[in-house]
Assembly symmetry: D2
Homo-oligomer: 396 residues x 4
């Protein structure tokens, strides 16, 4: 089978030319002075993009590794967490916490809804002794964005550590770590940054470090140990890695970050993703399909989830679209696998008419399989929103 | 300014990933045994794709060089040519012939029409002494395809050499050099093959070689000399180049050719371009725009020319589309510059929904500038033709 | 500072052009059918290269991750290990085992010596109840190769699981997993295969799976869980990943493996590394420097360790060589950091005159810093061994 | 057969990583605003490197094309040239001049010698009416450098146009077009710049333009026409190409030029080539082989020519070295093919220990074939010169 012509998925998504050139660049020795300097400067550039002065730790392994490392580092038997669940990843994070012995207070809403900050405030007040609050900022499996901006300060006011999964938020929507009182977050380079899927970006503030150090259950002497990174790298002159970093992944992420910086900065990146999401949603609705998110105000910028119409299966539709049109889209994930499609608009795919290709591929594919869809209206709506948005951006 | 997101032009067009990887491959010494073998096998593979057992000469320099070399090699003062003109390139070819002293009989039709073989037969009969017939198979500047299949045998029957410009035909529509009695043709790798624009592919048959050898005006001792290539390379053991070939261009063209061979062969490549052309034309018409070709039966497979509506200028529209949408399209060329747009669907751009992007970008761009265009209808039509065509291809 | 001209280190080492092109290839969605097929076929190809029919698990994260995962999976409090220590990695593996609660019997030799199989036999007999034997086949930090071929069957005979670190052995010296009765081993693609440093290749046989399943302490529900990989991927139809694999790393390793297969196979790869090691050692000795290995019979094929002469420091020498000559070499690692240099000859660096560059760079660099070295004699010796070895290989 | 491990030839030579990444970059439409801007800025950067304010014309086709275009543009029947011949290229340039009807005064020295400026002065004075003087600055086929610096002003003083082939001089030795009163020169990007071999860089001053315009025989309406470039590109707003430029070649040359600029500038580039030449010559002599140049003072910086010892043939030696060691070297060219070897040290190959590889490969290869060569002494000499030169460069 041929490779795809378009990869418009929920990630890994298509990488830009610049990122790919960097991935294919020379593989340097990790202690080569050029590589050491690149690694250190990448940390600093990422901190800037996330508006933080906290420590940035670049772990090898996609974000699932970083999230597990964080869950372990901050959990001792009995540690009391508030886990805010509006999607699959939050649900699974809770499973980890429980398996590590935490006492978990779960606040769950429908996976097509966002968390309401008022509920968080209320629950924290009711309990009074919650130590950590966990939130997934942007739930990639269902395209839902949660109000970290408001929840972070609430957690802080109640004396709890704010722990956020900003994996697919980074680059696609605003993430202001310090302003929002986030004590620890995990970002991923393979979503809106469109870097390669091999790195966990972990931002750790002083309160989080302190909590880990006080935790006898936190991993030590392990690939997964944040404390080892602190001892060996962060607290020294940053010249000894914990293990060999993936040189080509670092090169790729460095290029992705530079590309964001040099093409308008993080604000322009966020604006592109916001527009791509808006255009995609307009197209989906105009085609006569139903968005997964109950309210567009919390539909994510990185990916648009679309309810699967009756009469077809998600796997069937994806396979058809991939085979006939060379377009790779995503279905749902975990318990949502059969319920929705996901049109990714991250990184390069948030630009130009990529959303048009995604919307038309889904619409035309459904039509091929007998679903009544207005492809023309969908395409027209996408193009119109992009036109208006690009015009605004140009005059801004 | 940022690079484009989509290059959907009349060429150079976007290169495939495989071609780009080859272009970026190691630059070998031209007499390295691996390079020599690659060069020789490339000649053979190209001959196969063009259905010929004649000699293939790979000159360095885009097809304009090869065309000039041919015009010079086959023209002495007084040589009598029939020049069949249905477009800009044929017109310019005639200028060369005259400047080299030929006696040129010109048969010209509107640049939005194709040559009628019956006219060729009649003119050749009327004159009786025409030595060479020149035809542009596919006029890239206006998207018109001429019936080389029928004209070649007519020229042959009248004892004239058939000389064809198949630059943008190669890979996009059928070219059967030997069956069609073509004595000499020039193909380009940078159009439907989507290779780099740095090579002239010249196919020379025995009658054409003989005519050159008999021509005292044919270039000798020159970068442009086909006879030098014959003496130094073709007639020997193919181990001495006339000059240093462009190693990276050869690598790129070799990859482009391999890609055609390994993804269904030349017939599948032609079918893709035919479908892309059909889908594009359907979209253009459904949007309410007018095709340049008076009759779709001779609309080219490589590029679709669209008449520029009143009230806008081609340069203005292209610049707007490039700036707002990151999509690069072409306008007309030479005397047609202000009259038409060209949507390229060559190489990778003939696949998947690239034609949708081209049609929508043009339509939406025109709409932005005040032209009444039905973008939705256009997009719908493109998608539908692609769907039907892909379905047929899959069952074929 | 400029990037290096030559990376001749103990790894990451320079990647080949083919590997780099693959690393820079399109980033596919991990559930794209083309990627799924590539992932599965890569497992099969690696199994072939390692001469095994056991299961191959490709974990994301350099080999340290795989080794930790293995140590955890096979250790419950009280599990009795024999840890065979002839170098740094084995020493650290023991630290893990103890921290996970194992009862560790340590047999340690000098870090410039290899393990004697007779000792293993004796110790296993003495104890009678040792459950697992751990051996580092090729100690990269000191360039020592241990006789896994003989120790594997001994462990097997005594009823213990044979667990081997073949990270830097894979591709550079013979590894016959099934013939040698290895129950579990971890290989790395970033050493002699010269792939990118982002993957742990874990080969697990039925006895090892059984031991893990019986181990309540084995990681489950974790990035590090081999049992999760078994449940989710190995025992199913291999269509659900445990987490997103690093697409570009997989592409890179796939290319590295194909390159080995298509350039003479694994035997030719081993022969190249063997010759490169022999040539390097001849050069080192001829220059008047001292090899680290007490006996060349157990000097590793992947890297040559050289004792640091008196009067200079390893870091000083490396920095000088890197700065003046653009050549990156390695020093020792961990407790050996100040004691030795390492000249890498892995992957592309095992070919042609790369060993000459490494030897001359070290020799000339030492001479610059006042050490008495016969650079010419060293270079001559390297070239002569390569000449003889290449001549033999050609006639073989 | 495998590709080479080292390409250390007289060109095409190995391209740098940066150049290769650029060659493999996106193929843009030639009228894309980004490409247009790149093309124009490349002209300006090249002018800077050549210390000129004259016009730079970037023709598609390796330097042979540019040289022929120049010879034609400046020759009418009877035009009187002084052709200064110290090598193969100058000899062939004279053949062109004669075939175009020039009256050619030839001053020829041995091909292992350089032109003496005093002779030029004398001959110009004797004749009094010589219109153009032709000199090859650096004769790649024999590694001889001529004193353009002194000859240019002499020609100027005598009222003749100074026409120089600086193809392999550019980037490797000083070329000051304006200071040296050069009216027209042709440079190549595929030699010391290590760009791809697909472009002729022609620098034309006002006197040369005037001479062309006054020449009715100068090509017009041709791929080879400098006057067409002037009319269509140079004298306008530089927005209309004469023909489609090779986009990937332009990308590659642009990267090569940027690399020179950003790694110390043209002076540092020249110094690297000078040192590489010096080191190579020291090695050749120490091995007991004989340099081709009678006097090292005029040995070229780009390539070192070595006399072929008795008893072996150049083709035999090259094939052996390529096969056994994976190292590609060059033999002589044209009438010198059997007389000498050429070790290239251009671009990346002028750095680090590449000269060591070239010298050792030749020496060891000759030794394999029975020639008495002191490989060790040669390697030692190369390394020592590089060490001293690099030390000086660092303190400069």
């Amino acid at each position: 089978m041929r490779g795809p012509d378009f990869t418009l998925t929920a990630g890994p998504t298509m990488a830009s030319d610049r990122v790919r050139a960097a991935l294919g660049g020379p593989v340097l020795f990790d202690y080569d002075p050029v590589f050491l300097e690149r690694f250190r400067s990448l940390e600093a550039k990422i901190a800037d993009l996330l508006h933080t002065e906290q420590d940035v730790v670049l772990m090898q392994g996609e974000a699932v590794l970083g999230l597990e490392a964080v869950a372990r580092a901050l959990t001792a038997p009995g540690t009391k967490w508030l886990n805010l669940v509006s999607g699959v990843y939050a649900m699974w994070f809770g499973d980890w916490l429980r398996s590590f012995g935490a006492e978990v207070v779960t606040h769950e809403v429908g996976f097509d809804e966002a968390i309401d900050p008022a509920d968080v405030d209320r629950i924290l007040a009711e309990h009074g002794d919650i130590e950590r609050v966990a939130l997934v900022h942007s739930e990639t499996p269902s395209g839902i964005e949660n109000p970290l901006r408001e929840i972070g300060p609430i957690a802080h006011r109640h004396g709890a550590l704010m722990v956020a999964d900003v994996v697919s938020a980074f680059g696609g929507c605003e993430v202001r770590v310090d302003d929002w009182k986030v004590d620890l977050c995990v970002a991923g380079p393979q979503k809106c940054l469109a870097g390669p899927p091999g790195m966990s970006i972990v931002v750790v503030g002083p309160r989080a470090w302190k909590a880990m150090e006080a935790n006898p259950s936190a991993p030590r002497g392990s690939f997964m140990s944040l404390l080892d990174w602190k001892a060996r790298w962060v607290d020294t002159d940053k010249s000894a890695f914990l293990y060999t970093p993936s040189v080509s992944d670092v090169n790729g992420v460095d290029a992705a970050v530079d590309e964001v910086i040099e093409t308008g900065g993080i604000e322009a990146s966020i604006a592109r993703h916001e527009l791509a999401g808006r255009a995609t949603r307009a197209g989906v609705k105009a085609m006569g399909l139903e968005l997964w998110a109950r309210d567009e105000r919390y539909a994510a910028n990185c990916v648009t989830a679309v309810r699967c119409p009756e009469g077809v299966g998600t796997a069937q539709v994806l396979a058809h679209v991939r085979e006939r049109y060379g377009v790779m889209l995503s279905k749902g994930y975990g318990p949502l696998a059969e319920k929705l499609f996901r049109l990714g608009h991250m990184g390069p795919a948030a630009r130009s008419f990529y959303p048009l290709v995604a919307v038309t591929a889904l619409g035309r594919g459904l039509a091929d399989l007998g679903v009544k869809v207005d492809v023309g209206a969908g395409a027209e709506a996408v193009a119109q929103v992009i036109s208006e948005g690009a015009a605004e951006a140009a005059t801004a």
